[in-house]
Amino acid sequence: MTTTAANVNASIEQFQSRFLGITREVGRRIVGHEDIVSLTVTSLLAGGHVLLEGIPGVGKTSLVHTLADVLHLSFSRIQFTPDLMPADIVGTNIVQEGAHGGTAFEFQPGPIFANVVLADEINRATPKTQSALLEAMQDVSVSVGRTTHRLEEPFFVLATQNPLEMEGTYPLPEAQLDRFFFKLKVLYPREESMHDILDRTTGGSGTPVNRVVDAATILEMRHVARGVPIARPVQSYAIRLTLGTHPDSPHATPMVKRYVRYGASPRAAQTLVLAAKIVALNRGQAFVSAEDVRSVALPALRHRLLLNFEGEADEVSTDVIVNELLNSVTA
């Protein structure tokens, strides 16, 4: 179908209203965290996955549950533990006795076979188990034995991790981290938000939410988002931001040169552009601005910087490094 100016206008308006509908419904149950909700939906519409980091009890898991309810998608939750095995996630072949007495191996799908997967406390599982998600997150498929099983689109992984408890945890490998579209920090709610949380959770039954979009709608929204044109100078800005995270880059800031061992991969640039397109659509625009890129740079880059020993020893936050980069690289 040829996209015309009139179609574009309708697509933008429809996208905007649907996006607003999702965030509004999530907001009925999740108090505060509007930006977290918005960025999570952005990631979903871009086809990415989100790593939510926050102290216990701030609503990470509730957010994922609510999102699954609103999206009218299949949902599964995997509680990551040290003894969790890859087969517990992707599934396994089991011997199944047939109706006529014969036996055969039959694939038993794991909890990853869902549209929305909550990988709760992902850093408690061993790297081997964590790596079970790699193929699913990148290729939306899992391989068991000689068979590759496609996962149903949209496939959306929301992982949570607790930054405080370090004992008995396994930091996510870089390859795994790079596959997360955004890393969102769920902060402690403000005092006024706390009143709302208490009102909603301590009285009566929970707040019901409506299912506003289904899988097909989400896929259509993904298609619309990818159609937004981006001018080369804006794209160049996203590239310069990505390259600036590398210590040997001419765009690197002093902090990057001092504290960063490895910078962001090209996936970061893809993330910046895709997310910026969705932000632009969400604002009702048919173009991507440098400001759109800036607005998503922090969640897109913060988990993709690998600090060196000095950075780790000085407990440098990658947020500070990214903010310095944003101030340094001109659009």
Binding site: T2, T3, T4, A5, A6, N7, V8, N9, G227, V228, P229, I230, A231, R232, P233, V234, Q285, A286, F287, V288, S289, A290, E291, D292, A331
Partner: protein, 445 residues
């Protein structure tokens, strides 16, 4: 509805962005101009003031003002010239118009079309950008910079600089400068009495054996002042007899007395040989009669009249009917040979021969016939040949024409004025030759 490329929205965006860029540059230029103009004008004022104090030509100040105005004008012209709007320009305009990147993006898509897939999106984007751009009041985005204080300061400074350069007195006139005859501001010409006093001061030191060596320039200036004052006095004396004539006679007497003193001082061996030479020269200069000096000047003035290059032998004559002759008379005595070119006029009055290196009119009193001249020269040459050192001293003065052994001949020497007042300073003697030259000129006691 699809809007094809090149249709109105694209052209509109292109035109509006170019227009906005022009306005932006003009405003920036205006801002910079009126920031720089008062400084430039103040600098011009300072230069004009310095020029006035230092006595520079007013043209310097005017040239500086003109140069500053030209540079500022050039900047304005450069800013107004049409040019391609870059992405950076578009980004700046976008930010100043608060268009959130729409103008910048649209401007890029107007000039670059990435692919047909996004055609609808791009057309829609450019169309909306065109609408947004049309709604913007660019005169409010880029308001004219009043810069009234800067303008006033510039006008005041520039006017003051011009006034200092042109209007106020105390400077050489512009007209003279424009004619190319502007001379440096001359110092006041001293009076004859002051010159005499100056010479007396020099002689006082010389008589004590502490004579100071004057530079060639100082000597030249002193003699030039002397000549000038004598000529002025002569002219005054010619106009008014009586008191002025008396004063002139007194001055001449004083100068002669100084000449005597200079001569005596030149013989004082306590002085440096160079000083002594200078004193001798000064004595000679001072002993010249004022009237003769004036006549020399008059003759020089006549000689300055342009003549054809090959007219060496044709000096103007009073009668005008007989051509001037150039003759070379050569007398040999022993190994010596002296040749002197004498210019005379056959129509002369048979007076005593005048002597000139190469032509000239001759003084009325000095004209002579060729036979007379030949006889006089022969006599002189014979006497010179018989001259013995120290034999013919008259009143302690030795003859100028001592017997020589060198052979010298002067024939057909080019005509040139030989006035003393016009003579150039001698060439500088190299340091290596200086001792030899000094010993050469030391007089034997």
């Amino acid at each position: 509805m699809s809007i094809p490329s090149g249709s109105r929205p694209h052209d509109l965006v292109r035109a509006r962005v170019e227009d906005a860029d022009r306005q932006r540059r003009q405003r920036e230029t205006s801002r910079r101009l009126w920031r720089a103009a008062p400084i430039a004008a103040a600098a011009c004022l300072v230069i004009a003031l310095a020029g006035r104090l230092a006595g520079w030509s007013p043209l310097v100040s005017i040239a500086v003002i003109a140069l500053a105005a030209a540079v500022l004008g050039l900047l304005v012209a450069l800013a107004r010239r049409p040019r391609t709007v870059t992405d950076a320009d578009a980004a700046a305009i976008d930010a100043q118009a608060a268009m959130n990147g729409e103008l910048r993006s649209a401007h890029w898509f107007v000039h670059n079309r990435p692919g047909a897939d996004a055609g609808g999106w791009i057309d829609f984007h450019v169309g909306r950008a065109a609408e947004s751009i049309q709604r913007i009041d660019w005169s409010r985005v880029y308001p004219a910079d009043p810069a009234s204080r800067a303008k006033a300061a510039t006008v005041v400074f520039a006017a003051a600089a011009l006034a200092l350069a042109v209007v106020f007195p105390g400077r050489a006139s512009i007209g003279a400068s424009v004619d190319g005859k502007s001379a440096p501001v001359e110092a006041r010409t001293p009076t004859l009495a002051e010159v005499i006093k100056q010479i007396e001061g020099l002689l006082d030191q010389a008589e004590l054996g502490q004579g100071r060596e004057l530079t060639a320039a100082e000597m030249k200036q002193l003699f030039a002042q002397l000549d000038k004052l004598r000529a002025e006095q002569g002219a005054k004396g010619a106009k008014k007899d009586g008191k002025d004539g008396k004063t002139e006679a007194q001055s001449e007497a004083a100068l002669k007395a100084l000449a005597e003193r200079a001569k005596r001082a030149s013989e004082n061996t306590n002085n440096d040989p160079k000083v002594r030479d200078q004193l001798a020269e000064m004595a000679e200069k001072l002993s010249e009669p004022g009237a003769q000096n004036a006549e020399n000047k008059e003759r020089d003035a006549h000689q300055e009249e342009p003549q054809p290059a090959n007219d060496i032998a044709k000096s103007s004559s009073s009668s005008g009917d007989a051509p001037a002759g150039a003759q070379s008379v050569k007398e040999a005595s022993g190994s010596a040979a002296v040749g002197i070119v004498m210019m005379t006029n056959n129509g002369g009055g048979g007076k005593e021969a005048s002597f000139a290196v190469a032509g000239g009119q001759g003084i009325a009193a000095g004209r002579g016939q060729m036979p007379d001249l030949a006889a006089a020269l022969r006599k002189e040459t014979v006497e010179s040949a018989q001259d013995t050192e120290g034999e013919k001293d008259v009143a302690g003065e030795r003859r100028q024409t001592e017997r020589g052994t060198a052979t010298a001949a002067y024939a057909h020497t080019a005509a040139a004025p030989a006035g003393r007042g016009r003579s150039a300073a001698p060439p500088v003697v190299p340091e290596s030759r200086r001792p030899a030259l000094r010993s050469y000129f030391i007089r034997k006691q």
